[in-house]
C-alpha cells in the first residue's frame, strides 16, 4: 500500500454497516441507498409528468372531448372534459414535475449520489447525513406538489416559470399555487444541500492518483452541475420566497400596474431572478447528460475519448457562460437593446463549446469498434436529439428571429429536444448502463432495444411536430389553438403529433416491465464488469459494491478511457485497462511510450 493510499484509508475508515431495517433502507446515510431512493422518487414522478403530458396532447388533438380512462378518474366533475382552468394547471405542473421532480432526481439525485463516491474511489459522500436530509427534504417537496392537486382551486396555473403578477393573487389565487411555490423553495433547499455535498466530495475525496484530468467525464458533468446548483438554486429560492411573501403577506415585490398599491414593485425583477437560475438550469440538466455520454460513447466505441481535455475545457466554459446568456428568455420584455445584444452575443458564443463537445463525440466514434448495446443506442440517440435541439437554438438566440418565434411552439420543441429528450435519453443511457452496478443484474437487451426504438422514433416525431407547429406560428400554452384562423391548418399536425406522443408514452411501459422483470425475475448476476470498461466502480470493487464501497481505497494510475491500447493488449490480452489496474511486468512505462 502506498503512503497516499494509507492516508486515504486513515481519513475514511471502514464503518460497520447498519443492521436495523430503518437505518438500512429508509433513513439510510449510504449514498448507494440514497441514490436508489432518488431513482424511485424520480421515476414515479416521471410517470406523473408523462401522464400530464398525455392530457395536454389529448387537449390539442381533441379539444372539448372527454379524455378516455384518465378523464373518468381525475376529471369526474366535468365528465372527463379538460376545461381552461384545469388545462393551465396541467401544463404548469407538467413542466414543474418533469424538471424539478423527475429529471433532476434521476440525473443528479440518483446518478450523482450513486456514482460520485464509486467513480472517484471514496467510501461515501463527504457529508452522509446532509445527503440523507437532502433526500427527505426532496420527498417533502414532492408531497407538497401532490397536495396542491387536492386543494379547492386545484394546483398551480401560472406556467412553470411562475411569472408574476399571474402567479400572485392577482392572477392565480388559491392554496394550490402557494403550495407549489413552497415546493419549489423546498426542492431548492434539497438541491443546495446535495450540491454542497457533491462539490465537497469531488474536491476532497478523490482517491490517490485521481487527478482532475483523470476524472470520468460523468463526474465532471455532475460536479459542474453541482457548482451551478450551489450558485444559482439559492437565487431561485429567494425569488420563490419573495413570491410567497407577495401571495400571503401583502408585500408587492412583483406586483405593478393597476393592482399595485402605492406604486408596487416590478414583475420583471422576478424574471431576472428566475432566469439567472433558469438558464443555468438548462445546463444543470444537460451537463450530467454530456458527462454520461462522454463516458458511455468511448466505452462502447472501445476507443479513448477524443480530446478529453478539450471536452473538459468546453464544459467548464459552458458552466461559466451559462449565467451570462439568460436574458434571451426576456428579449420581448422591452429590455434595453444594448442589454439584449449582449445576451444575444453570449448566447451565440455558448454554441462554440457545445459544438466542441459534440464534434469530440463524433470523432470518438470515428474508427472505433462500435458495440451497439442498449446503453450505446440511447447514447447515440441522445447525440441526435441534442444536435437537433442545439441547432434549433440558433434561431432563438437571435433577437430578430425571436420577434417571430418567441413564445411559440418552436421554443417548446427546441427545449424539449435539449432539456427533455436529451436529458431523458441520457438518463436512460445511464440507467441501462449502471443498472448492473446498482441492482446487480443486466436489463434485458431485447426489451431494451424495443424500448429504445419506440422512444427514439417517438421523441423525434413528437418534438419535431412541435417545431413544425411553432414554425407556422402556433403559440404555446393555448387551451384551444384553433380559435385562431392562422393556425387552422395545423389541426392535422397537432393531432398526428398527439398520436405519436401516445405511442411514445405507451412504449415506456416496455421499460417498466423490463425494470421489474429484471429486478424480481430469475436473472443471473451480471458479474463485476459486464460491459468490459475501465472506471473504478466496475474495475476496483464487486457487484453490487459493499457498504464501504472499496475493501481498499484504489490508487488510480491512468485516465478513464484506456481502450484498444496495443501495449495493454500485449500485456493482458484485453482491449481495456482499469483506472487502478497495475499491469504486469512494468507495463506502465511501455504504456506511456505507446500513448506518447
Amino acid at each position: 500500500m502506498s503512503t497516499a493510499q494509507a492516508l486515504a484509508e486513515a481519513a475514511q475508515p471502514i464503518h460497520p454497516p447498519p443492521t436495523s431495517f430503518w437505518r438500512q433502507y429508509v433513513f439510510s446515510i449510504d449514498h448507494k441507498v440514497i441514490g436508489k431512493q432518488f431513482l424511485w422518487a424520480g421515476l414515479l414522478f416521471l410517470l406523473v409528468g408523462g401522464t400530464l403530458a398525455m392530457l395536454i396532447r389529448w387537449q390539442w388533438a381533441f379539444p372539448y372531448r372527454p379524455v378516455p380512462v384518465l378523464g373518468q378518474v381525475f376529471l369526474g366533475k366535468s365528465g372527463g372534459v379538460i376545461g381552461p382552468a384545469t388545462y393551465q394547471q396541467i401544463f404548469t405542473t407538467h413542466g414543474l414535475v418533469m424538471i424539478f421532480f423527475a429529471v433532476t432526481p434521476v440525473l443528479i439525485g440518483c446518478f450523482g449520489n450513486f456514482l460520485i463516491p464509486l467513480m472517484i474511489g471514496a467510501r461515501d459522500m463527504a457529508f452522509p447525513k446532509l445527503n440523507m436530509y437532502s433526500f427527505w427534504t426532496f420527498l417533502l417537496s414532492q408531497l407538497l406538489v401532490l397536495a396542491s392537486f387536492l386543494t379547492d382551486l386545484g394546483s398551480a396555473g401560472a406556467g412553470w416559470t411562475t411569472s408574476p403578477p399571474l402567479s400572485t393573487n392577482v392572477g392565480t389565487p388559491g392554496l394550490g399555487q402557494t403550495l407549489v411555490v413552497a415546493a419549489i423553495f423546498v426542492t431548492g433547499v434539497s438541491s443546495t444541500m446535495g450540491a454542497i455535498n457533491y462539490v465537497t466530495t469531488v474536491i476532497r475525496l478523490r482517491a490517490p492518483g485521481m487527478g482532475y484530468m483523470r476524472l470520468p467525464l460523468t463526474i465532471w458533468g455532475i460536479w459542474l452541475t453541482a457548482i451551478l446548483n450551489a450558485l444559482f438554486v439559492p437565487v431561485l429560492g429567494s425569488a420563490a420566497l419573495l413570491l410567497l411573501l407577495d401571495r400571503n403577506f401583502g408585500t408587492q415585490f412583483f406586483v405593478a400596474g393597476a393592482s399595485a398599491v402605492r406604486g408596487g414593485g416590478d414583475p420583471i425583477l422576478f424574471q431576472h431572478l428566475f432566469w439567472i437560475f433558469g438558464h443555468p438550469e438548462v445546463y444543470i440538466l444537460i451537463l450530467p447528460a454530456w458527462g454520461i455520454l462522454g463516458d458511455v460513447l468511448p466505452f462502447f466505441a472501445r476507443k479513448p475519448h477524443h480530446w478529453y481535455k478539450g471536452t473538459v475545457l468546453a464544459m467548464v466554459i459552458v458552466t461559466v457562460l451559462s449565467a451570462m446568456v439568460y436574458g434571451h428568455h426576456m428579449f420581448m420584455t422591452g429590455m434595453s437593446p444594448l442589454l439584449g445584444e449582449g445576451f444575444m452575443l453570449f448566447t451565440l458564443l455558448i454554441s462554440a463549446p457545445s459544438m466542441v463537445v459534440v464534434l469530440n463525440w463524433v470523432l470518438t466514434l470515428w474508427r472505433g469498434s462500435l458495440r451497439f448495446d442498449t446503453p450505446m443506442l440511447f447514447a447515440l440517440a441522445t447525440m441526435f436529439v441534442f444536435g437537433v435541439g442545439g441547432l434549433t437554438g440558433l434561431f432563438l438566440a437571435d433577437i430578430s428571429m425571436d420577434l417571430y418565434l418567441h413564445d411559440t411552439m418552436f421554443v417548446v420543441g427546441h427545449f424539449h429536444f435539449t432539456m427533455a429528450a436529451a436529458s431523458f435519453l441520457a438518463a436512460m443511457t445511464g440507467i441501462y448502463f449502471w443498472f448492473p452496478k446498482i441492482f446487480g443484474r443486466k436489463l434485458d437487451e431485447r426489451l431494451g432495444k424495443a424500448h429504445f426504438w419506440f422512444t427514439f422514433v417517438g421523441i423525434t416525431l413528437v418534438f419535431g411536430g412541435q417545431l413544425l407547429a411553432g414554425y407556422a406560428g402556433q403559440q404555446r400554452r393555448l387551451f384551444d389553438p384553433f380559435q385562431y384562423t392562422f393556425i387552422q391548418q395545423l389541426r392535422g399536425l397537432n393531432r398526428w403529433t398527439s398520436f405519436f406522443a401516445f405511442a411514445l408514452f405507451a412504449g415506456q411501459f416496455i421499460f417498466v416491465w423490463n425494470f421489474f422483470k429484471t429486478l424480481f425475475g430469475k436473472v443471473a448476476s451480471a458479474g463485476a464488469n459486464p460491459w468490459e470498461v475501465t472506471t473504478l466502480e466496475w474495475t476496483a470493487t464487486g457487484t453490487p459494491p459493499p457498504f464501504h464501497n472499496f475493501d481498499r481505497i484504489p490508487e488510480v494510475v491512468r485516465g478513464p478511457h484506456e481502450f484498444s491500447n496495443p501495449e495493454v493488449r500485449r500485456l493482458t490480452g484485453r482491449d481495456f485497462a482499469g483506472q487502478a489496474e497495475v499491469l504486469p511486468g512494468g507495463g506502465e512505462r511501455g504504456l506511456a511510450a505507446a500513448k506518447g
Binding site: 388545462y87 392572477g171 472501445r302 459544438m355 430578430s400 384562423t485 395545423l490 481502450f563
Partner: protein, 276 residues
C-alpha cells in the same frame, strides 16, 4: 391542347388564384411561415431561411460522418487507438471556428442591423410622415386600443377607443405603446413577424409597417390565465384613403359619444416620446 397552351392556361389559373388569394385573405395553407404582409418582415424570413439552410448542412454532414462510422466501424474491426491527434483536434477547432464566424457571426451582424435599423428603431418610426400612433391597454382577456383622434393628443374627448379591433393604413409606420393593467401579456402579430410583451407598471413599444390590405390576427403569446387562448383581436389593414375616412368618422362618433363620468374609458396616457 399544345404544351404552350397548357402552360398559358396554367399561368392564367395561377394568376387568377393568386389574385383571389390577395383579395380575400384566407386561412394559411401548409406548414410554412404565415403570409408576410409587412414591409420589414422579409428581413426575419431571410434570416430564418439562412439559419434553416445552415443547420441543415451542418446536420447532414455530421449525421453522414456518424452513419459512415456506424456502417464501417463495427465491433468485428479493431479500434484505432488515439486520444486525438493534432490533426483531428484541428478538425474540431477549425469546424467550430468556421460555424462560429460563418453562421453565428452572420446572424449577429445582420440582427444588429435589423433591430437598430427597423424593428426597434422607434425614433425613425416616430419621425416618419403620417406615422400612426396607437395606445394599447392589454388586460385579461382583450386588447383595448386608443387613437388620439383629430387633435393628435391622447386622453381627450375625441380619442377613438376600441376593443380587439385595430385599424392601420398601408405604407406608413405604426407605433404601438403597450401597457397592461393586470398580468403580463404579449402582443403578437404573426403576419407582421413582430411581438412585444405588455408589462404592468411600464410602457413597452412595438413598431411595424403594413404592406397588404386585409384582416389579420392579433394573438396573445404570453400565458395570461385560463382564457389566454381567447385573447384574440383583429388587425385590419386599410388603404390610406379608407383609413383616413374611418379615422375621421370614428373620431366624430367618439366626440359625440364622450361620457366624462365613465372613468373606465379614460385609461389613456400622454404619448411617451423617445429621445433619438
Amino acid at each position: 391542347m399544345t404544351a404552350l397552351g397548357a402552360g398559358r392556361a396554367a399561368l392564367a389559373l395561377a394568376v387568377l388564384m393568386a389574385g383571389a388569394a390577395l383579395a380575400a385573405p384566407a386561412p394559411e395553407a401548409g406548414y410554412g411561415l404565415p403570409r408576410d404582409v409587412s414591409v420589414d418582415g422579409f428581413r426575419i424570413d431571410e434570416l430564418i431561411h439562412f439559419t434553416l439552410a445552415a443547420i441543415t448542412v451542418i446536420f447532414v454532414v455530421v449525421a453522414a460522418v456518424m452513419i459512415w462510422s456506424f456502417v464501417n466501424h463495427r465491433r468485428d474491426r479493431p479500434a484505432f487507438y488515439s486520444h486525438g491527434t493534432g490533426r483531428s483536434i484541428g478538425v474540431v477547432v477549425g469546424g467550430v471556428a468556421v460555424i462560429l464566424v460563418g453562421v453565428d457571426g452572420y446572424l449577429f451582424v445582420h440582427t444588429l442591423g435589423d433591430i437598430h435599423g427597423y424593428f426597434w428603431n422607434f425614433p425613425r418610426a416616430e419621425a416618419a410622415e403620417g406615422a400612426v400612433r396607437i395606445e394599447v391597454n392589454a388586460h385579461q382577456w382583450s386588447w383595448n386600443a386608443r387613437y388620439a383622434g383629430a387633435d393628435g393628443k391622447f386622453g381627450t374627448p375625441d380619442d377613438i377607443v376600441s376593443v380587439d379591433d385595430l385599424r392601420v393604413p398601408v405604407g406608413v409606420p405604426v407605433i404601438v405603446q403597450l401597457a397592461s393593467t393586470d398580468v403580463i401579456h404579449s402582443m403578437y402579430l404573426p403576419n407582421f413577424r413582430v411581438k412585444q410583451d405588455a408589462v404592468p407598471g411600464t410602457i413597452t413599444r412595438l413598431t411595424f409597417q403594413a404592406k397588404v390590405p386585409g384582416e389579420y390576427e392579433i394573438a396573445c403569446a404570453q400565458h395570461c390565465g385560463p382564457n389566454h387562448y381567447k385573447m384574440r383581436g383583429v388587425l385590419t389593414v386599410l388603404a390610406a384613403d379608407a383609413f383616413r375616412q374611418w379615422l375621421a368618422e370614428a373620431g366624430d362618433d367618439a366626440r359625440r359619444g364622450y361620457d366624462p363620468e365613465d372613468a373606465e374609458a379614460h385609461w389613456g396616457w400622454e404619448w411617451r416620446r423617445l429621445e433619438p
